[in-house]
């Protein structure tokens, strides 16, 4: 092939003014890597876009739930804290707590069971305490992440503890 790619001048001098096979292969490999990088980077960023958006969302520190102060006792309100599900529980004893609703075992969304006064995960039977979020029985390894709750006159503010 007469139309060999042009080789960098510095490289030619390095190889005593003749493009050695080694220099050529090195230059070609470097150029090839640049190509792969130039294509792989946009593709990676493109595919990772939703993950980045979710990361931006979960950077929130506080969520205001308008009208949630009217939530009946012994009931729960599901809401999104950033990109992941969370729950606000108004206990039968008029206490307010909020937890991440993502089971610490394998990530299912948990539910509040008022009659048992517990938080239950239907996937593998994990049980958490409805007041503290502590893992009481079943496979969950850790308690549910708790949030700070501030009940106001026109809404409930949930923030990172």
């Amino acid at each position: 092939m007469s139309d060999l790619p042009v080789i960098d001048k510095g490289m030619i001098e390095e190889a005593e003014s003749t493009p050695t096979r080694r220099a050529f292969v090195a230059a070609a490999a470097a150029a090839g890597l640049c190509y792969v990088g130039a294509m792989a980077y946009p593709i990676y960023r493109y595919l990772a876009s939703p993950a980045e958006m979710a990361a931006n969302e979960s950077a929130v520190v506080e969520v205001t739930l308008k009208g949630a102060q009217t939530l009946a006792t012994a009931s729960a309100l599901m809401f999104k804290f950033g990109s992941s599900p969370a729950m606000l529980i108004h206990g039968a004893d008029d206490t307010w707590v909020a937890f991440s609703a993502v089971c610490t075992h394998l990530g299912c969304t948990v539910q509040f069971e008022p009659q048992m006064n517990r938080i239950h995960c239907a996937c593998h039977g994990g049980v958490y305490d409805a007041h503290t979020g502590k893992n009481v029985s079943g496979p969950p390894p850790k308690p549910l992440t708790a949030f700070k709750v501030n009940v106001g006159t026109d809404g409930v503010v949930v923030s990172r503890a």
Binding site: M1, D3, P42, I43, R45, Y46, L47, A48, S49, E52
Partner: protein, 357 residues
Amino acid sequence: MAGFIYNWVDERLGLTEAIAFARHKRVPVHAQSFWYYWGGISLFLFLIQVFTGILLLVYYRPGAEAFESVRQITYVMHFGWLIRSAHSWSANLFIFAILVHMFSVYFMKAYRKPREVGWLTGIALLFLGALFGFSGYLLPMDELSYFATKVGLQIPASIPLLGPFTATILRGGPDVSEFTVQRFFALHVVILPLLFLPLLGLHLWMVQKHGNASPPSELEKPAAARRSIPFFPNFFQKDLAMWLISLNVLALLASVFPWDLGKQADALTPAPAGIHPEWYFMAPFHMLKILGNWLPGATGEVVGILLFTVGLALWVVIPFYDGENVKGSRGRVAHYFGIFAVTALILTTALGYWGVR
């Protein structure tokens, strides 16, 4: 180590046979050898289409949300604009490369015996390529794509008897709507690829089996005076260099001239001024327009479609008219027919663009 791996794989998959198979083909070297690259360039651009198309599938949603999802791809997802732009640009370059490939095959008389099947599959691939273009054009569901599809479907609709029925089925109703996008999407990403890939396989097998055709001027020379190089690795290396050039051209076009996204399609807004079909549909549209001026009403369109069909049919069956490699009037007639076709296409395309200027 490399030798060990090679032997291990070779023993099981037969690499040596595959290489011998690839080496078996030789590529003639002569003044017109440049045109041999265009099939390979078309193939490369098709691969780019598949690759960027799969990436677009990651976020594209057909149906009612079509425009919103393309807006997201273009303006929200990182580098989405670039991937969409690369897909659109390579689609256009792909059609351009197949046209160059087809006309070079035609004028080098590479359709002659025994390469008739290569010619026929090639035309079928071009036809499918045009359908890929037509169906893909609607998918963003912006103003231009909406009206282009509306107008484009008027053509089959004007065929007597079966026309209106066919157009309604293609459209999924009396008007272009979210149902149209949904079925064009199915056409674009499932049905057309299913038809395209086996045809492409047959086409490539024909190239492998019969090799590149030498033009008549070469065949006149004594066998000893003709030069050729092995396809693998010699011509293949040059092919790869052409692919690299194509990739660079594509990267430049896609990034410097990003593909536009218009306003969302809305049946109630009037068609934008200067709306015109994609360049590869310009020639037939303009011919229809000219005939429509001569013959008023539906007659013009019917006669136009008829003339176009006859011309296309003659183009398709050319290997059966000019099939033998002998000097004679048939070869000359085919040559002039080719020159007439190219002139007509270029002229009507130019006139079409002149009209919308």
